[in-house]
Amino acid sequence: MEFVTPTINILIVLPVLLVAGGGALLMLLELFMAEERVKQWAPTLAIIVLALAFLQTIGLWGQTHTTFTPEGSSPMVILDNFATFLNVIFLLTGFFTVLISVNYLPRVGLNRSEYYMLMLFSLSGMMLMGMANDLILVFLALEVLSIPLYILAGLSRPRPESEESAMKYFFLGAFSSAIFVFGIALTYGATGSTALPAVLAGVSNGGALALAGVAMMLVGFGFKVAAAPFHMWTPDVYEGAPTVVTAFMSVGAKVGGFAAMLRVFVSAFGSLGQTWVPAVAVIAAITLIIGNVVAIVQPNIKRMLAYSSIAHAGYILMAVAASVNSPDGVSAALFYMFAYLFTNLGAFAIAIAAERKLGEGVMLDDYKGLAKRSPLLALAMAYFMLSLTGIPPTGGFSGKFFVFRATLEAGLVWLAVVGVITSVVSGYYYLRVVYLMYMYDGEGELHTKPALLTAVALTVLATLVLGLLPGAWYEITKQAALQGLQVLAGG
């Protein structure tokens, strides 16, 4: 058998290489420089790397490329507008995470040199999630995304909560990966390939084997995006991990999971839609109910945001369920994730400003009287809470509007009703934060530094823009969604 070199176009994967290379560069620097100096320069270097990757990503918008194509087979990596759009989300997540980490980490005594390199490695995995055109690359990207996060969750060791958080995240993550890879094995047996176009071609004749594979991959993704009933780990992990890590994974890991889920389920398993759409719809409904109802009784802001992130996974799952029967499903999911990125990271930025010491100042009671001490930040927090609830004019409202519309288009009326009712319920716990901030007196200082304020200002601005001009941005997500699906269908 003759070996033919696969066609490779480095420019396509350059953003991923830059991000992963940035992490490797930090490791390299630490070999030759004093650790203190590396720590000093790490955030700047991370921002530079992210900016370069961002420029390259923006430059690739509107183009479709495939690369790493073995002879006589489908490409491993695909870069279309869908992947480009998701890469923008991931790079922005990284950017905001660096901004909120710069001052927080030294302040709480967590300035470990691993932080930025692990974050960059994890980001490179997330970016590959959206670009994978082969199940095995999905699996590898999932692990590159997850393994650094396990370590990051335990960053504030020897604090027992953080270690416990890392441990729980690790065990459930490894468990879900094992289920996921077994699902890939079954799908491989049923379709004879792991390349998504070949899976698409073979899956409808795959019989029970293919169905079992799809089910197990659904469970695997369910764990990753924290959908009920696979959400048990989320609150503990979010509470125990350092808050910046919680912020990073609440957006990055979730969007990463959905990136691959949309590509795999909507495109490759699209022909089995009649089978998995009801399952996803039921999971979405359970997720919405559990996330929104349990969030009400949480006294800790990180736990509340954890349940809130479960609830938001439910809204995105609604869009996933709608994607097969509605042309707006995928674009609604993309828009929702885009809005969720800004709103959630903004809310976490303020939670970080309010955190006095590691694990202190994270109770809802600590937000009492915030409006008097820092009117602008309290206003921003109130705005984020409105956006998370879905009250106009916010990005959160626009996102929910598009998701509900797509769900109705897809004929899942009952699911849309569940979504609306749980949104109303969610108002209770989000608006309670606003109530506490404005109606009480309290004390406790806020740690506001320029970098964090920049992050808050930018996220408020972005949420506002998405709330006021949703149409223009929705067109962009629409392009991303359409192109993403067409390319795969064409093989």
């Binding site: 095995i136 909560e161 270690e163 416990e164 958080s165 065990f171 094995a185 491989y188 047996g189 792991t194």
Partner: protein, 101 residues
């Protein structure tokens, strides 16, 4: 004549179930960890069996990736277990419950 592929599917399904039950029922972190490895290896067995059955080498290549990833997980997992043992003097996951979920 060789062993039909169904037998391999059945065997790996059994191994996978043993692993999954181990994760859900056992309380010792190391044993949970071994159960996860058993699940991954059940998938590996399936990959190899299907690869042989389909006459397609891809499945065997996938096993290498899964083994590599499993090794990375082992490295991180063992480190976490060591770290948590130092703090808690125990790796019984029932005793690791500071936060109530």
């Amino acid at each position: 004549m060789t062993v039909p592929v169904e037998w391999y599917v059945a065997l790996s399904a059994i191994l996978f179930s043993i692993g999954a039950l181990g994760v859900l029922l056992r309380r010792n972190a190391i044993i949970i960890f071994m159960s996860v490895e058993l699940m991954l290896n059940a998938a590996n067995l399936l990959f190899v069996a299907f690869s042989r059955y389909l006459g397609d080498l891809d499945g065997q290549v996938l096993v290498f990736f899964v083994i590599t990833v499993a090794a990375a997980e082992v490295a991180v997992g063992l480190a976490l277990i060591v770290v948590i043992f130092r703090t808690k003097q125990s790796i019984n996951i029932d005793e690791i419950n500071l936060m109530k979920g």
